[in-house]
Symmetry: C2
Subunit: 300 residues, 2 copies
Amino acid sequence: MRKRFNCYIEKLQDKITNKIGDLDPDARLKEDLWKREGGGGGRTRVIENGAIFEKAGVNISAVHGELPVSMKNYFKVKTGQFFACGLSLVIHPKNPFVPTVHANWRYFELYNSKGDIQDQWFGGGQDLTPYYVFEEDVRHFHQVCKKACDLHNEDFYFKYKKKCDEYFWNTHRDEARGLGGLFFDYLRPNKKFSIEKWYDFITEVGNHFLEAYVPLIEKRKNMSFSESQKAWQEIRRGRYAEFNLIHDKGTLFGLKTNGRIESILMSLPPRVQWRYNYQVKTNSPEEELISILKNPRDWI
Amino acid sequence: MRKRFNCYIEKLQDKITNKIGDLDPDARLKEDLWKREGGGGGRTRVIENGAIFEKAGVNISAVHGELPVSMKNYFKVKTGQFFACGLSLVIHPKNPFVPTVHANWRYFELYNSKGDIQDQWFGGGQDLTPYYVFEEDVRHFHQVCKKACDLHNEDFYFKYKKKCDEYFWNTHRDEARGLGGLFFDYLRPNKKFSIEKWYDFITEVGNHFLEAYVPLIEKRKNMSFSESQKAWQEIRRGRYAEFNLIHDKGTLFGLKTNGRIESILMSLPPRVQWRYNYQVKTNSPEEELISILKNPRDWI
């Protein structure tokens, strides 16, 4: 399974970065191959200052070795080797009418002292962070998420949409980071779903990613925007940075386990503003966004 | 002592914000008085988009009540009322040749069930975060810190300078946030120093703050700078935001104990950039800064 999923994310990374290149001919992709002390490494691909994409990172990594102490405590195991691989992406478009998107698909194995698999699971998801709400866009994204889920279990979309709203909650701001999508973790083999069936599910979600997101880029990328709309995007990207640096488990985990800093923090927005006690105008599109972030909606 | 110190920080806030107003006639000060549910409140003063100061916050607060659970665990007490007051300031100048400065002076009391003082201490410090290194400026700041310390104990400067370098360490970047100053905490009454003597020490440090910092503004505020020097300041301010959101105990404490978010996060820089794997040029002034941040120096 580790080979199979690793092979999958390698191809998916190619597919997504090729699409980014097609959409934005100005975008020059920078690729960094890196090795991890202790085992494994990754392939980081980043675009900056494109015509469409202000900053986009699409990274894969496959790491293994002895579990760091902090992870042992976290997983409540005393000894053990682990393997983890995954694809992480964050795309920050230039135009404030095109949402930021984040996705992650990962696989984890823990071994006992004999080297047998002791535990294994998939995790991940994908979620949208718009700066202006076009209901049809958000609905499209969620509908494609649901379509992928429904092919495996009709409860999954509702279950993982709810988990997504819960996870991407900026507690100190009492608002969601964005308008949701899917979030799942610890998808372990059980009576109904073997690890192969979970593989089929998570790769289904991954295969639907471009269908969920690309139409939103194509529809909005040429809309003209004002300086103040760009500033609003940068203010909201401040909240994005707050979530990632204060709350996001993946980020903190990476920082604590000596991950490659530049690959972990590629998720941070290109430009951010923090203004003191910034207030939106009554009945403005900015106020509409805030009101939905404070009370997550059903989109289907 | 709580009345005495609270009175002191009220006057110090006036003194500092008056000076800011004198230095920057374009700066319009915004004042917010706020109350805390559970007891106490504060007076937040912020300037944005001045001619000299891009963003500056000088806040005082005095809060009291039942200790929140997270603080009980932190201080290892089971029950108890507390009182805490302090002044916190962060000044982000516009010109990249003027350093950012941070300072904090605070006093804390814990009570037993009879309402008697069970524990009390002062804490705080002040530290400089330049974007370009002018050795004479950094030396001046440290010399004034030392002068204030020496009036009370000749070991204090060296002791608290070292603590400052240790505290403001961005572990995940393996570099200091800035070029240091003073940092002290848990200054409790002991054989040599009564709480009154600690009061004399901490107010001495507070009284020297403007003398340490203002000459640096006056010397550098009119220096011309390029777009790329401004961008460098914004990139470094990204590291400042990382420290405050990932590592700073005061910030995390505030967020976890339901403090006033906008007052806590006023420390965040006005504008920040995160570029993927940004590298400075060899033998550049930017490289000089990095090399000193990686190997903190003695300035006296």
